[in-house]
Symmetry: C2
Subunit: 466 residues, 2 copies
């Protein structure tokens, strides 16, 4: 057992919290989306929460933790869904929320500390020069930009820009290593993949440089379809309209929109599937023409609605907020993350609907993936047992729909992040004692783990980059 008293003494002057209730609260994220993770991780708790206010303090924390052999798990805003920020080995929860300054804004780019809330960052860049982040999760109002880079993959904006995995969607990361004398490293280009979506297992992000896109007054629209596959075809076609600028296109199968989008319920019909769209004002006319031709029923338009009071923005109906709203109404609901590969994606969606029906209510997020528009599934699952959940996963995989399993807390088992020799070598360099977020990288914990197994990963391994 490490000597926490000595560690605390070493951290004199840095904000430390060891009130058990607060430490417990800051040791959790949205892992409870998964009944499996809820069972596995509910007990997880760190020893203390340390809140550095700048990089110099991060360096002091890591040096001290290294000296005492104490684990450090970084935390942004704790909005991850897979225990990304949960300290499996106890130790320090490194709360980066106070490193929340936007440092520089230029055409097409922003430099910021990791703890800034994404909506706040967007407000600053919008006020400065009419710009905003290309991508944000549906939790933009509470999530931090560093947490998004370290634990996210894409979200609102991915229909235009792809995901965090894609070259160009992160420009630069500055990290601090976990060593006796922590170093700072500047990562760019393919090296970004060493840290993106690595849950802080190989360095603490202290600065991000992200690309910006123009900030428009996006118009929220909901389009109703009596038939689920009509909604899917419409959303797909809309995503392929090169001249219509959208930031979000999602489909949710009936009756979930009516049953779970309670604040919008007055606009919805229970038997209609819904397409959630954010469209640029200067593309609205073209969007309405397209939607009319495709026989979509506009059931809600934020620009002409009588009363928006109490209505969340459309993006808070999408991505993981779809699941969240479902969970609030029906706590037995969980979800999956599914890829429907191009070009047979529509057929695969239809097939899964046919095989699993209302046990797995459809929810698709249309994104650009390797240049093509495809639906990424975040289907809801009416959970019964872990065995049945695994069976549902197996059914998807057998039908050629890879699963990024949100019921696993390791990088590799989640399936998003491929570990390879380059990644492991970097871990040995940046965190030789394995003290950063221990337990999340199987290939590190278990030397016999075969990370070369063929499998679809969202964030590819680094060796291919050459």
């Amino acid at each position: 057992m490490a000597d926490l008293a000595k560690l605390k003494a070493d951290l004199a002057g840095i904000a430390i919290e060891d009130n058990p209730a607060i430490v417990k609260q800051k040791s959790r994220d949205f892992f409870w989306y998964s009944p499996v993770l809820k069972r596995q991780l509910d007990h997880v708790v760190g020893d203390l929460v340390v809140t550095p206010k700048d990089e110099a303090e991060v360096i002091r924390v890591l040096a001290a933790a290294h000296a005492h052999g104490v684990a450090v798990t970084p935390r942004g805003a704790g909005t991850g869904n897979y225990g990304q920020a949960m300290p499996l080995a106890g130790g320090i929860v490194l709360n980066l929320a106070e490193m929340n300054k936007v440092t520089a804004i230029a055409p097409g780019r922003v430099v910021a500390e990791p703890g800034v809330i994404m909506a706040k960052l967007d407000a600053e860049t919008r006020a400065h020069s009419g710009q905003e982040l290309r991508l944000h999760p549906s939790t933009a109002n509470t999530a931090s930009v560093g947490g998004f880079v370290a634990g996210g993959s894409g979200g609102v904006g991915s229909i235009r820009w792809g995901g965090l995995r894609d070259l160009g969607n992160v420009i630069r990361l500055r990290i601090v290593t976990m060593e006796a004398s922590p170093r700072t490293l500047e990562l760019s280009r393919f090296d970004l993949h060493k840290v993106s979506h690595a849950y802080g297992t190989n360095g603490i992000i202290t600065e991000v440089e992200m690309p910006l896109a123009p900030a428009y007054d996006w118009v929220d629209v909901l389009v109703g379809f009596d038939d689920w596959m009509d909604a899917v075809r419409y959303a797909d076609a809309l995503g392929n309209e090169d001249g219509i600028l959208t930031k979000e296109i999602a489909t949710v199968a009936a009756p979930a929109p009516f049953d779970y989008f309670l604040r919008h319920q007055k606009f919805l019909k229970r038997e209609q599937s819904v397409v959630i769209v954010m469209v640029a004002p200067h593309s609205l006319d073209a969007f309405l023409a397209f939607t009319g031709r495709e026989k979509g029923e506009i059931v809600f338009r934020a620009d002409t609605a009588q009363d928006l009071k109490g209505l969340p923005p459309a993006f808070e109906l999408a991505w993981n907020h779809t699941t969240l709203r479902a969970l609030r109404v029906d706590p037995s609901i969980t979800y999956l993350q599914v890829m429907y590969p191009f070009p047979d994606h529509q057929k695969k969606v239809a097939r899964m609907t046919e095989l699993l029906g209302d046990e797995v209510p459809g929810h698709l997020e249309f994104v650009r993936f390797d240049g093509k528009v495809i639906p990424m599934g975040l289907p809801m699952v009416r959970f019964s047992t872990e065995e049945r959940l695994d069976e549902i996963i197996r059914i998807h995989e057998e039908e050629g729909c890879p699963i990024f399993n949100p019921h696993r807390y390791t990088l590799e088992e989640g399936g998003m992040k491929q570990t390879d020799d380059v990644q492991l070598a970097f871990k040995r360099e940046a965190d030789p004692d394995g003290l950063l977020n221990p337990g999340k990288m199987i290939a590190w914990e278990d030397p016999n783990f075969d990370y070369r197994a063929k499998k679809t990963f969202l964030f590819p391994g680094l060796q291919a980059a050459g």
Copy 2:
């Protein structure tokens, strides 16, 4: 014969030019790119050039011309390649160059008169709010925005936004009809297709509303490849990189870049094919990483070049400027417009290279088309005879590569614009006497013309819009 003296009297107060040399000059466009059109159209000349300064004068001109049964052919800057602005039936050349004001700029949109030069428009929107047109031809420094809408199809920016055919890439057009009492009509949504790329055959555009994109300081880069198909694969892959913001991606097969891009020759190797790229500064790092991995040799970068004096911008190496530069060195060169349909586009490019070799040097412009990245071919052709040119076209079509024939001056034969009942009905409404740019719409001239023939058109017919 119309009474031109009376017509002129009716136009008192409006700028009229009847100096034969000037009228001849203003009766021509870049039709001489085609040896076929050069033979067919070289004699074409109008009777007088009329230069209205505002919409009221346009209305007066059309009313007077209608009264006297005189044809009117609108002209922007005369940079079309198919005789779009050439007055086959003589009469008035309606020169819109003096209607050149930018009227309004807002986030994502601009309103302008038709005669404004696109580079000037971009300079104004850039100074106003860091915006620019989504699309422009390689002739942006001389071409007018109205001419682009009436006679163009896409260009620089199409890798991001598709073409003028796509919903959303024109927001609104205001036109004047050719009647005893000309009316003004506002067209939007699918009705835009009545006038887009119709060469002014069914209304004179007096105002355009176009979408804007952010104006970045695009970096010109040339990337060399020893193998033509390596260049093609690289360009295709770059176009599919969702996070790398480019405005232009073109490939030109060796030895054309060295032989024809004389001002850039010092950077080039004769045996290398070249990829022409415009990339956003905040994507440059990602672009360089990608290019390194793909083994592209950066032979020119405008941001680090020692001396840019005398170098044209990269977009003036692309689109029709590729042909123009080739023509200047070798006047026997002409070109074609080829579509290589997704997903077999690479194979088709390789096949045409194999079949036609150096007789048809490769030039591809990568664009988004129905949501997918494909190469649109503007291959150069070492012209021998019209019969061989037709044979080359047939070879393309037999291999599944539709041709938009730039050696035809009618809408239908050019293959860009589909005429249908809706289009014809609109022509009857907007130009009942057929006085607008006569001779360009076969379906109007020849009631027996079968416009229902199956063929690939860039601008689809209007009936599908429902």
